[in-house]
Amino acid sequence: MSAAIPSVACLGVIGRNKSATRLGQQLTKSHPQNNPLHISIFPSYDPTANAFTPIRNPLQFSLLLSSTIDVFDLRSKTSTASGDFGLLHAIDDRLAAYGFETNTGVRMVCIVDMRGRRVEAGGSGVAGQGGGAAGASTASSTSASAAARSSVGSVGAGLRDSEIKPVFRAMQSAYVRLLQNPFYDPDEHAPLGGKGGRRITSKKFGDDMKRIGEAWTPGVTTL
C-alpha cells in the first residue's frame, strides 16, 4: 500500500518589506517591495497519471506566493521576533503555505503539497521519484524517502510547523551565501525608492533552492 507524504511544491523568496523605519528616517517613504525574487516549482506526484507534474502552473504559483504577502502583513502586527511565521494559511486541503521573514524583511515562502510524494508504506523505494524530479541527487532522495517512511510509519500524514524549519534554515543560509557574493547587490533587487527589482539570477542560489525543495520531507532535520 502506498501513502502520500508531504513534499515541497514551491519555494519562493519575496523582496523586502521593511518600511525602512529601522533603516533611517529619510527612507520612511519607501514602498514595500514585495517583488518576487525567486520562485522554484517542484513537481508533485500525480496518482492518476502516475507521474510527477507540478500541481499548479507557474502563474498560479505566482498568485499563491503573492497571496502570502497579505498573511505576512496581517500577522506582522502580532508576529514574533524570530521571523518564523509558521503556517501562513492552507490554500486548500492539499497545499499549505509556510513563511519566514528575515530580519532584513526578505520573506521566504514554502508551499507544501501535503500529498506531493508517495511512499510505499514499508516498501523499499520511492515510486517515481526520478520521474519528474529530474536532476535530484539520488543520495538525498533515498535518505529523504527513508526519513519519510519512518515519519509516515510513526505518525499520521500531518505536518508540524517545526518540520518546515529546516527548509527555512537552508533557504536563509543559501540567501546569506548569495549576499556574500560581492557582485550581488541587494538594492538592485529591491531598490528602496524605485519600482520593481530584478530577480535573483544566481545559478548557485537556484540550485540550492532546487536541492532544498527536493530533499525535504517530513522528519528531515538538516538540508
Binding site: 523582496g15 514602498h31 517591495q33 514585495n34 517583488n35 518576487p36 492518476t48 507557474p58 502563474l59 505566482s62 498568485l63 503573492s66 497571496s67 504577502i69 497579505d70 498573511v71 502583513d73 496581517l74 503556517l87 501562513l88 494559511h89 492552507a90 490554500i91 486548500d92 486541503d93 492539499r94 499549505a96 507544501v112 501535503m114 505518525v155 499520521g156 500524514a157 500531518g158 505536518l159 508540524r160 525608492g193 524605485g194 519600482k195 520593481g196 527589482g197
Partner: protein, 1255 residues
C-alpha cells in the same frame, strides 16, 4: 446546502404546539377527516392584545429555534413553537393498507407510515431512512401541546365555563392517550384585567385547582398567568414557563430515544406489513435496522441537545451505513444507493455541526475530509468513479456545505471582524501532527475550493460525448440505461441537462462566479487583498466565458488602477490581468484602456504573445469606437515601454547663457514590436524654465543606424510669450506638412488649442525624428537658453502619439529624487558622468557687467564733517542699459542726505535706523560709458557707522526680459578726529580779595544791567592734551574753550587761550598736542558760600589739508569735545605756592610766595615751617604763625637761592593748621610741581647753560 431534503439538516429542538391564541384557518377541518388524530376543543380562541402579543412572541421564539447556533448553558430554552387554533391534527400512528391489496387472511400488523415496513411508505420495502421521519418529529408531533384558556370572571357562568373547560381538556387528553403519542398536555390560563378586578387570588386558586382535579393534570402542567403590566413582563413570565416546559420536552425526547434504543437491543428484524412483491423484493436486514435505530437515537439526542450522545449515535450509524453490510451491498444503479449516500452526507453534516458546536474545529475539518475520502473510496470502488462531473459537483457541494455551516453555526473567532485566517486546533488535538488544512480556515477558502471543483466539473462535463448529451427520449432505451450506469447523477443533473446538445445546461460559470464572489467578500473583509485580486481575476475569466465584458472590466479595473501586482513586479500575474482586461476593453469599445494596455504590453519584460502585432497603430483595429478618442494616460496608471531620463550637462548655469541638456528615450519594447513614431514630445519643468516641445519631422533623415544609442542634436527655437502669435502660423504649417493627414482641419484645431495654452508662457520648440525602434535609445541633445535665475528641474515628459484612429498623451514623471542620470556620447552605450539629480539645474542670476564703484578710494571719515561719496556707474555690458538705482543707508541715526546724479536729484531727511531712496531712474547708460552720482551725507554729530547699499537694477535694451542686479555695499565707519584729556590746575589770582571791611566795595552798586561780581575769584589753568586720531595730517585753525555751564551765583570766563596762525597748525596723527587756557571763576557775592560747578568744552576747528589742493571751499569742521565738570571756589582753605624767578641781574634768586586763602567764615591759625635744605639757601622765617581772618588771604614770601641749576629743588615747607593740627597741602602753580613728598620748584638753568644747550 440547498440540495438536501427539507428538514433533513434542521437544528432539532423540541417542538411545542400552542393552541387557542388564534382562530383556525378555515380549511383546517377539511384535513381532519383524513387520517390522523384530531385534537380539538370547542372553546373559542382567546382574543385581546395579550393573545396577539403572545402569538407574535411565539413567532419570535420559533424563529430563534431555527437558528443553527449552539445552545449554550446560559440559554434557558430553545424551542420551535407552532401556533394553531383550537384544532390540531397529529399524523396517524399507523399506516393504512393500500386499497389495491387484496384482503388478508390475518389481521395485518400495521406500522408507522414512515417505516419501510408500511407499503404506503416511500421507503418500502428496503429504504433505510428519509427526511420525512425527522420532519415528522420536528414539525408535526409536538412534545408538548399547550392550550391557552381564560377564566371567566362572571361568577354566574363561572361554574359552567369551568366545566366546559374541563370537558374540553379531558377530551383532548383522551384523544392523545388513545393516539399513542406521548405528547404532554399543558394548560395555560391567561388572566385578564377583568379577572384581576373581580376575582381574588383564592377564588382563582380554587378554580384552577378545580380544573386540574377535573382533568387529572399534574400540577406542573397547569399555569396561570396573571395580567401583566407590560409586554416585557409578560415575556418574562412566558420565558420562565418555557424554561419549565423545556425540561418537560427534553424528558419527552428522552423517552423516545429510550424507545429507539430498546428496539435496537431487541435485535430482531421486524417483518413488513406485506412482503414486497416488486423489485428485488428485498427487505431491510438487521444492520439496516440497527442503522435506523442509531440514527433515531442520534436525532432524539440532538433534540435534547445532548451533543456527545448525538455524535456517538451518529458515528455508530455512519459506520454501519458505510460498513460492509449496508452501502456495500446496495447496487450502484439502485436509487437506494444515492439515498444511502444522501444519508451518509446528512449524518456527516450533522456530525460536523456537532463538532463545531463543541468547538472542535479541527475535528470538524478532519471529519469533513474523512467523509469525502470514504465516499470517494466508495464511489471509486462501488460507484461510477470520481473522474466525472457528478463527483466534482458533489465535491464542490461538500465544500459549500462546510462554508455554509461555518456561517450558520457562527463559529466563534472566525468572523470577518476577528481578522483570523484560521483557527488554532482545539485542546484535544494540541500537539498532534495535523494537516494544515485541519486548522479551520475561514469560509473564503471553502468557497474557493467549491469554485475550483465547479471548474473541474465543467471541464469534465465538457468531455461528455455528444451521444450522451441528447435528450433521453431521442436515444434508444439501451443507451439511456448505459448512461444511467456511466454517469454519477447523485445530487446533480443527468448529462443531457448538465451539458445538453441543444440549449443551455448548467451555467457553470455563473455558479463559479457566485462562489468566487462569496469568497472574495470574505477575503476582502480580512484584508487579504491579493487573494481577493486573484479571485477577481478568476471571476473575470469566468465572466469572459459568459461574454459579459462590462462585468469583466468592472471586476478588473480596480486591480488595473491600483496597480496590484504590477507595482510589485509580479509580471506573470500582471500580464495575465492585462491580457484579460485588454480583451474586455476591446469588446466594450473602451479605446483608452485598450491603448493604455497595449502601450504597457509592449514592454519587453512581458512574454511576447505569438501572432500579436505589437503595433500601436493597429491598437484599435477591431475596436468599435464612435469618435477618434483622445487618450491621456500617465505612468502611475500604466507603466511604459519607453523609459525617459533628462539630464542637464552641468549642475549650474547662468541666466542669459545656455545650457546643454539631454533627453533620452529608451524603447524597452519587445523585439517583435513595430517602431513607434511619436508625433511630439513635451518636456515640462518646475521652476523658471519654459517647456520644450520636440516635434516629429519626417523630412529629417531618419536615424537608421543600428547602434543602440543615437545622439541627435536638436536646435531649439524660442518663442517669447508675446511673440507666440507671429510664429504660430509658420509652426502650424510645419506641423501640417509633417503630418500630411487627411484630417488636417482637426489637427489644426488641436494645435491651436495647444498653442493658446502655451502663449502665456512661451515655449521652446525643436524638430527631429522621433521614431523609436525596440531596444533603441534615442538621445536628444538641446541647447536650452536660460532666462531667469532659480532652480529648474525637469518634472515630466509628455509623449504624444497620433494615429488616424486615436491620439495618445503619455505622461512620464521625471522628478524622482535621487535618480541617477548620465550624459550620452555618440557611440557609447552607457552614459557617462552619472550623477544623482541630473534633471535639476541651478540657474544663477545673470552676472552683472555693470560696474559700480566709488570714483575715488574711500578714506576715513570723521564726525562733524560732511561726507561726500562719489559713485561711478560704468556700463561694461555690450548694450546700453536702463538703470534704476536704490540707495539704502542703515545706521543708528541717519543724517539728512542728498543724492545727486546729473539731472536726477533726491534729498532725504534725517531718520532713525534706516533711510532710503528707491527707484531713482537714471535712464540709459550707453555701452562702455559711465555715469557719476554723488551722495552727500550731513555731518554726523558723533562717531557712528553707516551701511550704505547702492543697488542698480537694470536690463539691457536687447534683452528686456532678463533683469540684472548689481550691488555696491559701502561700510562707513565714522570716528572722532580728535581725542583729548584735561587737567585743571589752580593758579593764583593776582587781584586782591575784597575786604570785609571795605564797605563800598562790598555793597552792590548796580552799574546798569551788568551785575558786577564782587565775590571771591580764583584763577585756574585748563591744560588740554589732544591728539589727532585721523589717518592724515589735519590743519587745526582754531582752539577754543567754551564754558558751557556755570552754577548760578558764579561766573567763569576764559582769560587767555592759545593763538594760532591763520593757516592754522598742522596736526600730525597720533601725536599729543597741548593747549592751555586760563580761566577765572568768581562768585557774584561774597556771601555765597557754595562751591561753583563749571562745565567746559574744548572746541577744535579743523579742516582737511587735502581739500586745499582741490581748490574747493575748504570747509572748516568744528569738533567739540566736552571737558567735564569741575568744582571751584570751595570754602576750604588752601595754600598756593607761586614762584617768581628773578631777573637776569639777580642771578638765580627765586621768590617763593606761599599764599594761604581762607574763604571760610572762621578765624584760622596756621603754622609755617621751612626746612633748611642742601639744595638751596633761603631767606624768610623758618618757623612762623599766620593768622587769617575769615574771607582773607595772606602771603608769606621766601627767597631762595638754589645751589644747583636746571633742576627741581624741594623746599621743605610745611603748612599746618594749628587748631586741627592738620598739614595742608601746598598747591603748586606755574613752574612748580608736586609729588608725594611735597612741592618741587623748577630752577631754570643758567642763561649761559641755556645758550650752551642751544648751541
Amino acid at each position: 446546502m440547498d440540495g438536501y431534503p427539507l428538514g433533513s439538516l434542521d437544528h432539532n429542538v423540541p417542538l411545542i404546539v400552542v393552541s387557542g391564541l388564534s382562530s383556525d384557518p378555515p380549511d383546517q377541518p377539511a384535513k381532519a377527516k383524513g387520517q390522523g388524530v384530531l385534537l380539538r376543543s370547542d372553546l373559542p380562541p382567546l382574543e385581546g392584545k395579550e393573545a396577539n402579543f403572545l402569538e407574535s412572541y411565539f413567532e419570535e421564539v420559533d424563529e430563534r429555534g431555527k437558528s443553527w447556533t449552539v445552545v449554550t448553558r446560559e440559554e434557558h430554552y430553545r424551542l420551535r413553537v407552532k401556533t394553531v387554533g383550537r384544532t390540531f391534527v397529529l399524523p396517524s400512528r399507523r399506516a393504512t393498507l393500500p386499497e389495491t391489496i387484496e384482503p388478508l387472511t390475518t389481521a395485518p400488523i400495521l406500522h408507522s407510515p414512515f417505516s419501510p415496513l408500511s407499503p404506503s411508505s416511500a421507503l418500502y420495502p428496503d429504504g433505510l431512512m428519509n427526511a420525512q421521519w425527522i420532519k415528522k418529529h420536528q414539525e408535526e408531533i409536538p412534545s408538548i401541546f399547550v392550550c391557552f384558556h381564560t377564566l371567566t370572571s362572571d361568577s354566574k357562568i363561572a361554574v359552567q365555563q369551568d366545566n366546559r373547560l374541563k370537558s374540553a381538556l379531558n377530551g383532548m387528553r383522551a384523544t392523545l392517550v388513545e393516539s399513542g403519542y406521548k405528547t404532554r398536555l399543558v394548560v395555560i390560563i391567561l388572566g385578564d384585567a377583568e379577572a384581576k378586578a373581580n376575582l381574588t387570588a383564592e377564588i382563582i386558586q380554587d378554580r384552577l385547582e378545580g380544573v386540574r382535579r377535573g382533568t387529572g393534570l399534574d400540577p406542573k402542567s397547569i399555569f396561570y398567568i396573571p395580567p401583566q403590566e407590560s409586554p416585557s413582563e409578560l415575556r418574562r413570565v412566558m420565558d420562565s414557563i418555557f424554561a419549565l416546559l423545556y425540561n418537560t420536552a427534553i424528558e419527552y425526547y428522552r423517552d423516545l430515544g429510550r424507545h429507539a434504543r430498546k428496539k435496537r437491543s431487541r435485535g430482531i428484524v421486524p417483518q413488513p406489513t406485506l412482503p414486497p412483491t416488486s423489485g428485488t423484493s428485498q427487505t431491510l436486514s438487521l444492520p439496516d435496522w440497527n442503522f435506523r435505530y442509531d440514527f433515531k437515537s442520534a436525532i432524539f439526542a440532538e433534540f435534547r441537545q445532548e451533543i456527545d450522545a448525538a455524535i456517538r449515535s451518529f458515528e455508530q450509524a455512519y459506520e454501519i451505513l458505510l460498513g460492509q453490510d449496508v452501502l456495500d451491498i446496495i447496487p450502484s444503479w439502485s436509487p437506494r444507493w444515492n439515498e444511502a449516500r444522501l444519508l451518509a452526507d446528512i449524518i456527516s453534516i450533522r456530525c460536523l455541526r456537532l463538532h463545531l458546536w463543541m468547538g472542535q474545529t479541527s475535528l470538524a475539518v478532519r471529519r469533513w475530509q474523512s467523509h469525502r475520502d470514504r465516499i470517494s473510496d466508495f464511489v471509486d470502488r462501488r460507484g461510477r468513479g470520481t473522474n466525472n462531473y457528478g463527483w466534482q459537483a458533489w465535491e464542490s457541494r461538500w465544500a459549500m456545505v462546510m462554508a455554509n455551516m461555518i456561517e450558520m453555526v457562527e463559529v466563534p473567532g472566525l468572523g470577518p471582524s476577528t481578522m483570523t485566517i484560521f483557527l488554532q486546533p482545539e485542546k484535544a488535538l494540541f500537539g498532534e501532527r495535523l494537516q494544515p488544512w485541519e486548522l479551520l480556515h475561514h469560509t473564503g477558502y471553502w468557497y474557493r475550493i467549491a469554485a475550483r471543483h465547479l471548474g473541474a466539473r465543467r471541464t469534465l462535463a465538457h468531455r461528455i460525448p455528444d451521444d450522451d448529451r441528447g435528450a433521453p427520449d431521442a436515444s434508444p432505451a439501451s443507451r439511456v440505461a448505459s448512461k444511467a450506469i456511466r454517469y454519477d447523477t447523485y445530487m446533480c443533473p443527468p448529462p443531457h441537462e448538465e451539458y445538453p446538445l441543444n440549449g443551455n445546461g448548467i451555467n457553470h460559470a455563473q455558479l463559479m462566479i457566485d462562489c468566487l464572489l462569496n469568497a472574495r467578500g470574505q477575503f476582502q473583509a480580512r484584508k487579504q487583498h491579493r487573494i481577493a485580486a486573484e479571485i477577481s481575476l478568476e471571476c473575470a475569466r469566468e465572466m469572459a466565458t459568459l461574454g459579459s465584458w462590462n462585468e469583466v472590466l468592472a471586476m478588473l479595473r480596480p486591480l488595473w488602477e491600483d496597480k496590484s501586482f504590477r507595482s510589485e513586479w509580479w509580471l506573470d500575474i500582471s500580464e495575465d490581468i492585462l491580457w484579460v482586461m485588454r480583451r474586455a476593453a476591446a469588446e466594450t469599445g473602451r479605446a483608452d484602456i485598450v491603448v493604455a494596455i497595449d502601450w504597457e504590453l509592449m514592454n519587453e519584460r512581458f512574454t511576447p504573445r505569438k501572432k500579436w502585432h505589437y503595433d500601436l497603430a493597429k491598437s484599435l483595429d477591431g475596436v468599435s469606437s464612435t469618435s477618434r478618442p483622445f487618450i491621456t494616460i500617465s505612468d502611475d496608471v500604466a507603466s511604459s515601454f519607453i523609459s525617459t531620463s533628462f539630464a542637464f550637462r552641468s549642475k549650474e548655469g547662468r541666466a542669459g547663457e545656455t545650457c546643454l541638456a539631454q533627453l533620452s528615450l529608451k524603447s524597452e519594447a519587445l523585439q517583435a514590436a513595430a517602431p513607434v513614431t511619436l508625433s511630439s514630445i513635451r518636456v515640462e519643468f518646475e521652476g523658471h524654465l519654459k517647456p520644450i516641445t520636440l516635434i516629429h519631422d519626417s523630412d529629417l533623415p531618419t536615424n537608421s543606424s543600428e547602434t543602440p544609442v543615437s545622439v541627435t542634436l536638436v536646435a531649439l527655437t524660442e518663442q517669447l510669450g508675446g511673440d507666440a502669435k507671429e510664429s504660430d502660423e509658420s509652426e502650424k504649417e510645419d506641423k501640417n506638412d509633417g503630418d500630411g493627414d487627411e484630417d488636417k482641419a482637426k489637427d489644426e484645431d488641436e494645435v491651436e488649442v495647444e498653442d493658446k495654452d502655451d502663449e502665456k508662457e512661451g515655449q521652446l520648440t525643436g524638430k527631429c525624428d522621433l521614431t523609436l525602434r525596440p531596444g533603441h535609445r534615442q538621445v536628444f541633445e538641446m541647447n536650452i537658453p536660460l532666462r531667469e535665475p532659480g532652480q529648474a528641474s525637469a518634472s515630466r515628459v509628455v509623449l504624444t502619439y497620433k494615429t488616424d484612429t486615436f491620439e495618445l498623451d503619455y505622461m512620464l514623471s521625471l522628478s524622482e529624487s535621487g535618480k541617477v542620470t548620465g550624459w550620452f556620447v555618440q557611440g557609447a552605450t552607457k552614459p557617462r558622468l552619472s550623477r544623482p539629480d541630473g534633471h535639476i539645474l541651478h540657474i544663477q542670476p545673470r552676472p552683472p557687467k555693470m560696474k559700480l564703484r566709488p570714483v575715488e578710494p574711500l578714506g576715513q571719515f570723521y564726525a562733524n564733517e560732511p561726507i561726500p561719496l562719489r559713485i561711478g556707474l560704468y556700463n561694461e555690458e555690450d548694450d546700453s542699459a536702463n538703470v534704476k538705482l536704490d540707495i539704502r543707508i542703515v545706521g543708528k541715526v541717519i543724517p539728512r542726505f542728498r543724492v545727486d546724479a546729473g539731472e536726477h536729484k533726491r534729498e532725504v531727511d534725517a531718520a532713525e535706523e534706516e533711510s532710503q531712496v528707491t527707484g531713482l531712474a537714471l535712464g540709459h547708460i550707453a555701452s562702455s560709458s559711465s555715469l557719476e552720482l554723488s551722495i552727500h551725507l550731513d555731518p554726523a554729530p558723533a562717531p557712528t557707522a553707516y551701511e550704505i547699499q547702492i543697488r542698480a537694477d537694470y536690463h539691457l535694451e536687447s534683452d528686456a526680459a532678463t533683469p540684472i542686479v548689481q550691488v555696491l555695499p559701502i561700510h562707513l565707519n565714522i570716528v572722532n578726529a580728535f581725542e583729548a584729556n584735561y587737567d585743571l590746575m589752580p593758579r593764583l589770582h593776582p587781584d586782591p580779595w575784597p575786604s570785609l571791611f571795605d564797605y563800598e566795595d562790598l555793597q552792590d552798586v548796580s552799574d546798569g544791567d551788568v551785575v558786577q561780581a564782587r565775590g571771591l575769584a580764583q584763577q585756574w589753568c585748563l591744560v588740554c592734551h589732544y591728539a589727532s586720531f585721523a589717518t592724515e595730517d589735519l590743519d587745526v585753525v582754531g582752539l577754543d574753550l567754551a564754558v558751557t555751564a556755570v552754577t548760578p551765583g558764579g561766573r567763569c570766563q576764559v582769560v587767555n587761550q592759545p593763538e594760532l596762525s591763520a593757516d592754522g597748525m598742522i596736526v600730525a596723527p597720533k601725536t599729543m598736542y597741548e593747549a592751555r587756557f586760563g580761566l577765572v571763576a568768581q562768585k557774584i557775592t561774597l556771601d555765597d558760600r557754595h562751591p561753583v560747578a563749571i562745565d567746559l568744552a574744548f572746541v577744535v576747528r579743523w579742516r582737511r589739508r587735502r581739500q586745499l589742493a582741490d581748490g574747493e571751499s575748504n570747509s572748516i569742521n568744528v569738533t567739540t569735545m566736552t571737558v567735564g565738570q569741575y568744582m571751584v571756589l570751595g570754602t576750604e582753605p588752601r595754600v598756593l605756592a607761586s614762584v617768581l624767578h628773578s631777573s637776569q641781574e639777580q642771578a638765580g634768586l627765586v621768590r617763593l610766595d606761599i599764599t594761604i586763602e581762607n574763604p571760610s567764615s572762621h578765624f584760622l591759625t596756621f603754622g609755617l615751617v621751612m626746612e633748611p635744605s642742601d639744595a638751596f639757601a633761603f631767606s624768610g622765617s623758618k618757623q612762623t604763625t599766620v593768622h587769617l581772618l575769615p574771607m582773607s588771604r595772606r602771603t608769606k614770601t621766601y627767597r631762595l637761592l638754589p645751589l644747583a641749576r636746571g633742576v627741581y629743588i624741594r623746599p621743605g615747607l610745611v603748612v599746618r593748621d594749628k587748631y586741627f593740627q592738620k598739614v595742608l597741602r601746598v598747591i603748586p602753580t606755574e613752574g612748580m610741581k608736586i609729588d608725594k613728598d611735597g612741592l618741587l620748584v623748577w630752577v631754570p638753568p643758567a642763561p649761559e647753560a641755556e645758550e650752551k644747550a642751544e648751541g
